[in-house]
C-alpha cells in the first residue's frame, strides 16, 4: 500500500505519453464493447432461446404455410404444455425503412408460450376484448412514440384486406417489456382479425411454437410431430427454438467470427501501444530502478511495481472505454431498427475485464522482467 504514491508518480512521469496510452486503450475497449454488441444482436437471442420450446415449420421452407388445424393435434399430444402459432404479416408503417416485425398470434397461447414477455394483466384483458388489438414491445413504442390507445395503420405487403385497398388498422392495447436479450421491437396482433379479413390464405398459419413440459424429450417429441404430419399436404420440420434461431443466424453468415477477428486486431494493435509505452518508460528509469535495488528492494518488488503500473493503465483506460460502450448501447440501436437486440451482454463485460488484466500483464511483463534482472552495477554505469 505504501508504494502507491511511488507508482502514481511513475505513471505520470510523462503525462503526455500516459494520457495517449490511456486514450488508446480506452478506444480499444469502446470498440470491443460495440463489436460484442453487434455480435450478440446477430445471434438473434439464441442465448435466451427456450430449451423447452420447439418450432415447427413447413418442410420445404419457412415461407410455406401450415394449416391452422395442426394446433388441436399438437395440443392433444402428450408432453405438450401449450401449442401456439404465428403468421408473418410483413406490414409496413409509412415507409419500408421503418421496418419492424409484425406477427399475427392468438393472445392466450402466445403469452403462455413466451413467459419472458411481460404484459400487465389489464392489458392482457384489453387484448382479449379487442379484435383489432395489438401489443408492441417497449423499444418499438419508444421508436415511434406510440402509446396505449393509439390507432396504427400498416400497409399490407402479403395479406390484402377484403375491404379493398392495402391498409390494415390496429389499436395499441398493450406494451410488453422483458429482460436483456428479449426482442422488444416487435408487434403482435390477433390472428382471428387477420384470418377473417384477408382475401386469400384462410385457415393458414406461418409456423408453430410448442412449449413442452420436459426439455429432455425435445428430440423425441419433435420426431413425433414430423411423423404425425408426414405424407400430409404440409409436412413439417421440427427443431428446438435454439436450433431454429442458430440456423437463422447462420443464414446471415458468420458475423460472430468477423466481429471476433476485428476485436482481436483492435486489441492487438492497442496492446502493442501499451507494451511499447511500458518498455520505454522502464528503459528511461533504468538508473532509478537500480537505486531502488541498491536500497534493498527485492526483485519481486521491482516486478510488482512495474506490473502494477501497467495493469493500472490497462484497467483505467479499459474500464472507462467499456463503460462508455455500455452507455452508448443503453442509448439504443442507432441503425433504425436493423439490429432488434442491442445489448452488451454481461458475459462479454466479464470477458472484457479479463482482457484488460491480460493486456496489462502482457504489456508489462517484458519490461518488468527486464527491470527485475537488472544488475545494479551495469544499470548505474549506463548513465
Amino acid at each position: 500500500m505504501k508504494f502507491i504514491p511511488l507508482i502514481w508518480k511513475n505513471i505520470w512521469r510523462r503525462k503526455f505519453r500516459t494520457t495517449f496510452t490511456l486514450l488508446s486503450i480506452f478506444i480499444a475497449f469502446v470498440l470491443f464493447g460495440i463489436l460484442m454488441t453487434i455480435r450478440y444482436s446477430f445471434s438473434f437471442g439464441v442465448e435466451i432461446a427456450g430449451a423447452d420450446r420447439l418450432v415447427l415449420i413447413h418442410k420445404v421452407s419457412l415461407i410455406m404455410p401450415l394449416p391452422v388445424s395442426y394446433q388441436t393435434r399438437l395440443e392433444q399430444t402428450k408432453g405438450v404444455e401449450v401449442a401456439s402459432h404465428q403468421t408473418w404479416f410483413g406490414g409496413i408503417y409509412q415507409d419500408p425503412s421503418n421496418f419492424f416485425a409484425n406477427i399475427a398470434v392468438e393472445p392466450d397461447p402466445f403469452l403462455k408460450t413466451y413467459p419472458e414477455f411481460i404484459l400487465p394483466p389489464e392489458q392482457v384483458e384489453a387484448w382479449r376484448n379487442d379484435r383489432q388489438g395489438a401489443i408492441i414491445g417497449r423499444d418499438l413504442a419508444e421508436r415511434f412514440n406510440w402509446k396505449i390507445g393509439d390507432r396504427v395503420p400498416l400497409t399490407a405487403t402479403i395479406w390484402l384486406p377484403k375491404s379493398g385497398g392495402t391498409t390494415w388498422e390496429f389499436n395499441i392495447v398493450g406494451i410488453y417489456d422483458g429482460g436483456d436479450g428479449v426482442d422488444k421491437t416487435q408487434m403482435f396482433f390477433r390472428y382471428d382479425y387477420l384470418d377473417e379479413n384477408r382475401i386469400q390464405g384462410e385457415g393458414q398459419v406461418g409456423w408453430y411454437v410448442v412449449k413442452i413440459s420436459d426439455p429432455a424429450q425435445a428430440v423425441e417429441l419433435g420426431h413425433g410431430f414430423d411423423e404425425m404430419f408426414a405424407n400430409s399436404s404440409a409436412e413439417t420440420k421440427t427443431t428446438t427454438e435454439k436450433g431454429f434461431v442458430e440456423g437463422f443466424a447462420k443464414q446471415i453468415g458468420d458475423i460472430s467470427s468477423i466481429m471476433i477477428a476485428i476485436s482481436s486486431t483492435v486489441l492487438f494493435m492497442f496492446g502493442l501501444v501499451a507494451a511499447s509505452t511500458m518498455a520505454q518508460s522502464v528503459r528511461e528509469r533504468t538508473s532509478e530502478l537500480a537505486v531502488l535495488k541498491t536500497l534493498g528492494f527485492p526483485d519481486s518488488g521491482i516486478l510488482a511495481l512495474v506490473l502494477t503500473e501497467s495493469l493500472f493503465i490497462a484497467f483505467t483506460g479499459g474500464l472507462i472505454g467499456l463503460g462508455l460502450a455500455w452507455l452508448f448501447v443503453q442509448g439504443g440501436d442507432p441503425t433504425n431498427g436493423m439490429l432488434p437486440i442491442f445489448v452488451l451482454p454481461t458475459r462479454d463485460i466479464v470477458i472484457g475485464i479479463g482482457l484488460m488484466i491480460l493486456m496489462g500483464l502482457l504489456a508489462g511483463l517484458m519490461p518488468a522482467v527486464a527491470a527485475m534482472r537488472l544488475k545494479i552495477v551495469d544499470a548505474l554505469r549506463r548513465t
Partner: protein, 396 residues
C-alpha cells in the same frame, strides 16, 4: 528553393533513421495497417454485395408486381392478370412471341456447403419460355437447359458453389419433390446466379399454386417505352399492380443491407482510426523526444523552423503510407474474390457474392492512412519546431 532543400535534407535524415527507431515506428505502422485492413475488408463486403445486386437487371426491362408488394416473394398475379398485362403497349414482340415472362418464386431449404447442418433460404424461380430470350445475359455454362414440362432444373453458378446438391447430375430434394439438376448457368454475376430455375408450371403443380404467378418481367421496345407501359397498366381498372424498371428494383433491394454494412464499417474504422492516431502521436512524440538534441542542433545551424515542422509531418505521413500499403495489400490478398452468401432481409433469400476490394477502396484506405499519419504527426511536429534550442541542447 533553400527552404525546400532544407526540408528535404531533414526529411531524408528522418527517414533514414527510422530503422533506428524501429520498435516505436512499428507501433504506428501496425496500428495504421490494422485500421486499413478492417476498413477495406468490411467495405469490400458491401461493395461485393452491391455489385452482385446492381449487375442484375436492365433499364429497358420492367418488373410488374402486385400493388403494395415490395418483393417478388410477397407479390401475386393471377393467370388472367398475366394475360391482361401482356396486352400492354411498349412490350417488344419477336415474331409470334410477346417478350413478357410470368414467373413464380418459392424458397426452399437447402444447407450451405459451409454449414451443412443449417438450412438456408434458396430461391427457386419458375420461369416461362419467354424468360430466356428476355435475359440476354443468360447462358448455360455446363450441362444443358432443362426441358419444359419435366422435373428438371438448372442452377445458377453461385448457387451451385454455395449450396448442397446443386451440381449437374445431383437431385434436389425438397419436401416430397425431387428435381434433377441438368445444367448450370451464369447471368453476368447477378442475383439469378443464386437461384434454381424450373418450369413455372411444374413449380405451380409442386406447391399447389394453381394458375398463379408472382411477377412478370417484360422486355420493353426501348427504355423510353417504360412510361407508356406503366401508365397503361396503372390506369387499367382490371389490374392492381405496381411497375418498376428491373435495374431499379434490384438496386432498391440492396439498399438496407449495404447501408447496414457501410454504417458498421465506417463506424468501426472511424473509431479505430482515432485510436491509431493516438498511436501515431505517441510514436512521433517519442521520435521527436529522442532526437531533441539533433533537431536543436539543426536549428542552431540555421535550419528553418518550417522545414523541421514539415519534415516531422512528412515522416509521420510516410509511416502512415507504409501502414496503409501493408493494410491494403493484406486486405486485398486475404479477401478479394472471397465467395460467400448471405440472406438479404428484403427478399428473405440468399444472395451469393464475392468480396470486392476495388481500386476505389484501396485508394480510400491509403488516403485514410495518410490522414492518420498527418494528424498523428501534427502536434509532435509543432513541438519539435517550438523546442527552445538552449534547453534541448542542454538535455541529457
Amino acid at each position: 528553393m533553400r527552404w525546400i532543400a532544407q526540408t528535404l535534407a531533414v526529411l531524408a535524415l528522418n527517414i533514414r533513421t527510422i530503422p533506428a527507431r524501429l520498435s516505436s515506428s512499428a507501433v504506428a505502422i501496425i496500428g495504421i495497417a490494422g485500421v486499413v485492413v478492417v476498413f477495406v475488408s468490411v467495405l469490400s463486403i458491401a461493395a461485393g454485395f452491391q455489385a452482385a445486386m446492381q449487375s442484375t437487371g436492365a433499364p429497358d426491362r420492367a418488373l410488374v408486381l402486385r400493388s403494395g408488394s415490395d418483393s417478388e416473394l410477397t407479390s401475386g398475379l393471377s393467370g388472367p392478370d398475366v394475360d391482361v398485362i401482356k396486352q400492354a403497349p411498349g412490350i417488344r414482340r419477336d415474331g409470334q412471341m410477346t417478350l413478357a415472362a410470368a414467373e413464380l418464386m418459392v424458397i426452399i431449404d437447402l444447407p450451405k456447403l459451409a454449414t451443412p447442418d443449417a438450412p438456408a433460404n434458396v430461391p427457386v424461380r419458375g420461369i416461362s419460355a419467354e424468360s430466356i430470350p428476355i435475359r440476354k445475359e443468360f447462358s448455360i455454362i455446363e450441362g444443358r437447359m432443362f426441358e419444359f414440362g419435366t422435373n428438371e432444373v438448372i442452377a445458377g453458378r453461385a448457387a451451385s458453389g454455395q449450396f448442397v446438391t446443386l451440381k449437374v447430375g445431383d437431385t434436389v430434394v425438397s419436401g416430397q419433390n425431387r428435381w434433377n439438376v441438368v445444367g448450370l448457368f451464369e447471368a453476368d454475376g447477378g442475383v439469378p446466379e443464386t437461384e434454381i430455375w424450373i418450369d413455372a408450371r411444374v413449380l405451380q403443380g409442386a406447391y399447389r399454386r394453381g394458375n398463379t404467378y408472382q411477377s412478370l418481367l417484360a422486355q420493353l421496345d426501348s427504355r423510353d417505352s417504360y412510361d407508356a407501359f406503366r401508365d397503361w397498366l396503372t390506369s387499367n381498372p382490371q389490374l392492381n399492380v405496381s411497375i418498376r424498371r428491373e435495374d431499379e428494383y434490384y438496386a432498391t433491394q440492396s439498399q438496407a443491407l449495404t447501408r447496414l454494412i457501410q454504417t458498421i464499417g465506417y463506424g468501426i474504422a472511424g473509431l479505430m482510426g482515432i485510436g491509431a492516431v493516438f498511436g501515431a502521436i505517441l510514436t512521433m512524440y517519442t521520435a521527436v523526444a529522442t532526437r531533441a538534441r539533433e533537431i536543436a542542433t539543426l536549428r542552431a545551424l540555421g535550419f528553418d523552423t518550417g522545414s523541421v515542422l514539415v519534415s516531422v509531418l512528412a515522416e509521420s505521413m510516410v509511416l502512415g503510407l507504409i501502414g496503409g500499403a501493408i493494410g491494403s495489400t493484406a486486405a486485398y490478398l486475404a479477401f478479394n474474390g472471397y465467395q460467400t452468401s448471405t440472406m438479404n432481409f428484403q427478399t428473405f433469400s440468399q444472395v451469393a457474392f464475392a468480396f470486392r476490394v476495388t481500386p476505389g477502396l484501396l485508394a480510400m484506405g491509403l488516403f485514410y492512412a495518410l490522414m492518420m499519419g498527418l494528424i498523428g504527426g501534427l502536434f509532435p511536429a509543432i513541438r519539435a519546431a517550438r523546442l527552445p534550442i538552449p534547453v534541448a541542447l542542454r538535455e541529457l
